[in-house]
């Protein structure tokens, strides 16, 4: 059927409108000729040809109209899908940027917290305390001393094991 449609669509649209018009006019002419005795002889062939033209005209006009509607719908859907693709891609970019940005913020936050429990070297302490007031400097140095003391005490292995057990992946959980 598509091949027939394709072949018919090679002819210009006006041709089929002409065929349809010829069919209608021919039937009218045949009807008029019926009332004229001398020429009524030509009525039958004119009538037959007109009916065939009318049938073909109506058929092809309907076919082409159907095809046109299909193409219009296809074009409309393609436009909608292209718009969807663009929106989908831009949504992805937006979410991705947010994820990347927030991941960095979380990572920096963790590193900053870890810095607060690490004992800095003497040079670093000097650098940090150089602009501090006497009171603040003493408080900071006391904090560092506490951290130093804490770093010298080792934890019982049972605590470390408990932590490691909790951090381990549950059995049967495969990636």
């Amino acid at each position: 059927m598509f091949q027939i449609v394709w072949m018919l669509s090679l002819l210009p649209d006006w041709f089929w409108t002409l065929i349809l018009t010829v069919g209608i006019v021919g039937i009218l002419v045949a009807w008029i000729l019926k009332r004229i005795p001398m020429v009524s002889l030509y009525r039958i062939p004119i009538y037959i040809i007109s009916v065939i033209c009318l049938v073909i005209g109506v058929f092809v006009e309907g076919l082409l109209y159907n095809e046109k509607m299909y193409e219009e719908e296809k074009t409309r859907l393609e436009a909608v899908i292209n718009k969807y693709k663009d929106q989908s891609a831009s949504t992805n970019v937006e979410i991705q940027e947010r994820i990347v940005e927030k991941t960095k913020v979380i990572e920096k936050r963790g590193k900053d917290i870890i810095k607060t429990i690490e004992v800095p070297g003497p040079e670093r302490i000097k650098e940090i305390t150089k602009d501090m007031s006497e009171e603040k400097r003493k408080a900071y140095e006391a904090e560092i001393e506490e951290l130093k003391r804490a770093s010298q005490c080792s934890l019982p292995p049972v605590i470390v094991d408990a932590h490691n057990k909790a951090a381990a992946k549950p059995e049967g959980d495969k990636k």
Binding site: M1, I48, V51, Y70, Y84, I95, L147, A150, I159, V160
Partner: protein, 93 residues
């Protein structure tokens, strides 16, 4: 003659009936997932070594919290991605 006309009209009507409407099979593609979201969450950090200080423990805990929040972010990202992509997909008509 009238019979011929009726037959021809019947032919036209039946021919039109033979023309099944074409089904438009265009459908929107499934959206591509975001690369960062498809990466699996890493394993939590464990403490290694014989002499473990409080700082070492706390460092591991903080690192694990960081991993949790990063993984939680991915989970939220997936939910957000699904919700927004579904909204867009449902609009395609």
């Amino acid at each position: 003659m009238r019979t011929l006309l009726i037959l021809c009209l019947a032919l036209v009507i039946s021919s039109c009936g033979l023309l099944k409407p074409k089904i438009i099979t265009l459908k929107p593609p499934f959206p591509e997932p975001i690369k960062e979201l498809t990466e699996p969450c890493p394993d939590l950090k464990k403490i290694e070594g014989d002499k473990v200080a409080v700082q070492d423990l706390l460092r591991a805990v903080v690192e694990n919290y960081t991993l949790y929040y990063q993984c939680s972010l991915k989970n939220d990202g997936w939910n957000d991605w699904y919700k927004r992509q579904k909204e867009l997909y449902d609009q395609v008509k």
